[in-house]
């Protein structure tokens, strides 16, 4: 156990200095949010406009499936892409969470022969550049016809989330003392009951943190989605990147609105999970 000390106190002066620096650091994000409320001309204005009359047009354009371009309505399909992102990320995180938690429980409680080696290989599959696995997966999906289907990308993302889930959940299981479980075992409780009634309730916060980080990681993933989703299964990051790479008339306001919509839950989550953040971003390898 780490020896935690009370952190020292500093006064309002520190608040002022830190606030100034934090706002500079946060500025690129703030500018995204401001751009989301700008009209197309304001977004491209020179010099940049700090004061402007805010508009909700961009947010409407995200959901109304269409925006005007030279008189023609163009279907942005972003409602479909949002649905895809949520559906694909949600399902694959759930799958990874179920089988990953079981595996993590086993790795924590009944270490196999070569437990460390397994954990190392599992971490490596997460650390390796995705570009290495993607070539054969691309060929594999082409042969099996999984390319462009929901099943394919969900399966892939479940595997993508598994190493993270296993390392995270193992670190949480490792932390809870085994005395209660052992006592229950002596009393003759079944293993299933011990797992569901004693262990799982103790790692509830861990499951929540793992799920949320998994969702963010999956939602943000770009390379796999770029190569393995079709027009009907495309996710938001791919659609966004396509919108930028396309023609000269990039709808920055629209892109900003899309990003802002995702930003809100992320900021909330960052705030609520601040204490689990370190563990989350190091895939559960560093606890505190």
């Amino acid at each position: 156990m780490a020896r935690r000390r009370e952190i020292g106190k500093a006064g309002w002066r520190r608040t002022a200095v830190t606030a100034a620096i934090s706002f500079i650091y946060f500025f690129p994000v703030l500018w995204i949010i401001l751009t989301a409320f700008k009209s197309h001309t304001d977004a491209l204005a020179t010099p940049p406009k700090f004061l402007f009359s805010p508009t909700l047009d961009n947010f409407v354009a995200v959901f109304s499936r269409a925006y005007q371009r030279g008189g023609d309505a163009v279907d942005t399909k972003f409602d479909l892409f949002f649905f895809n992102s949520i559906f694909i990320a949600g399902t694959s995180v759930l799958i990874a969470l179920i089988i990953g938690t079981l595996a993590a429980y086993a790795f924590s409680r009944w270490p196999l022969k070569g437990n460390d080696l397994y954990m190392f290989i599992i971490l490596t599959t997460r650390m390796l550049p995705p570009i290495i696995v993607i070539i054969p997966i691309f060929l594999m999906f082409r042969v099996t016809g999984l390319a462009g289907s929901y099943v394919g990308i969900i399966l892939l993302y479940s595997a993508f989330n598994l190493p993270f889930t296993i390392w995270m959940m193992k670190s949480f299981f490792d932390e809870i003392p085994t005395e209660v479980e052992d006592a229950a075992r002596v009393d003759g409780s079944s293993e299933i009951k011990i797992f569901f009634k004693i262990c799982l309730p103790q790692v509830k916060a861990g499951i929540a943190a793992t799920a949320v980080f998994g969702l963010i990681l999956t939602w943000n993933e770009y390379l796999f989605a770029l190569l393995l989703t079709g027009i009907e299964t495309r996710t938001v990051p791919v659609a966004m990147a396509t919108a930028i790479g396309g023609d000269i008339g990039v709808r920055w306001g629209l892109l900003a609105a899309i990003e802002t919509l995702f930003l809100i839950p992320v900021v909330l989550v960052t705030f609520l999970l601040q204490n689990q953040l370190l563990r989350g971003v190091t895939f559960g390898t560093i606890k505190r």
Partner: protein
């Protein structure tokens, strides 16, 4: 009949209770084997054949020819150099900025949680969003950066037009995104310094400089090392941000190794050569991951003892 049935039930129960660990681990390992290990073996095999994914021609076994070709390719060495430069500058800057940020947040003060959240947000954004918006900021006519420089020098400034500028632009975006990661690790280290050491130093009237090197630094050294390794592994894979901001340009000046592998595989369709190159990358990542875990365990052991 029922006795035999019961006996069989008993055997199954016994089997389950004796093999609990392996049984619980199996589904997870199965998914990983199908979606990770098998593709890895496939591409390992592929790296010994001559094969292009856009041709019907049967693969032809060529031993180590792909590896020889890749290692003798001046382009590969050039991309490795670019990657090494980007990674080292990027990680170094992340360390410095992350460390300074951690110093700001070291003590508790009113509003700390909220301000910390502001600083931590970049790392939770998507690579695509970061890439897209830095491209917007670097945009020659209406980008924030270009306009700020134009206001000072009076000339139109195109950051991404020169190799140096493009590299700086990419490093800045990635550094901004990931410095909070280093900050988190340094903060964790600062919290673990026993308070009585500071009190003792105060009595001895040790200078702040000495206090840092003799008391604080030993406690954050381990975590700094982990931060370097983790960020190096991640920066090594740098793809999305570069792909969106510069697509490797101008010319090939920002083409990192990950982008090069992507091009070889999906634009030039030299499938087996890209597999060979991928394996060289994999080897590097395995070495780094091993080192990383070694230091994680060492730190855990120190904390436990």
């Amino acid at each position: 009949m029922s006795e035999r049935y019961q006996h069989r039930q008993g055997l199954i129960a016994q089997f389950i209770s004796e093999n609990r660990g392996p049984l619980l681990v199996t589904p997870a390992l199965a998914v990983l084997v199908v979606m990770n290990i098998f593709p890895l073996l496939w591409s390992f095999g592929l790296s010994f054949f001559k094969y292009r994914a856009n041709r019907i021609k049967e693969p032809e076994f060529v031993w180590f020819k792909n590896y020889v070709k890749v290692l003798n390719d001046p382009n590969v060495w050039d991309r490795f150099q670019t990657t090494a430069m980007v990674v080292s500058i990027d990680v170094l800057l992340q360390l410095v900025v992350g460390f300074l940020l951690a110093m700001l947040f070291e003590k508790s003060f009113p509003g700390r949680r909220v301000l910390l959240m502001l600083v931590l947000t970049p790392m939770m954004l998507s690579f695509v969003a970061v890439g897209a918006f830095f491209r917007y900021y670097y945009e020659p006519t209406f980008g924030l950066l270009s306009q700020a420089i134009k206001a000072i020098t009076g000339e139109t400034y195109i950051l991404l037009a020169t190799p140096e500028g493009a590299i700086a632009g990419i490093i800045f975006a990635d550094m901004w995104m990931w410095s909070p990661f280093v900050m988190l690790l340094v903060l964790a280290g600062l919290v673990s310094v026993p308070k009585h050491l500071y009190e003792a130093a105060e009595i001895d009237r040790t200078s702040a400089w000495r206090r840092f090197w003799t008391i604080t630094f030993p406690y954050i050294r381990g975590l700094l090392l982990l931060a370097i390794l983790f960020r190096t592994i991640e920066a090594f894979k740098l793809f999305d941000v570069v792909w969106i901001i510069t697509e490797g340009g101008p010319g090939t000046s920002t083409e990192t190794i990950a982008i090069y592998v992507y091009r070889v595989a999906f634009q030039y369709f030299k499938t087996s050569q890209s597999a060979a190159l991928g394996y060289i990358l994999l080897f590097a990542v395995i070495v780094l991951t091993n080192l990383y875990l070694f230091f994680v365990r060492q730190r855990a052991a120190e904390e436990g003892g």
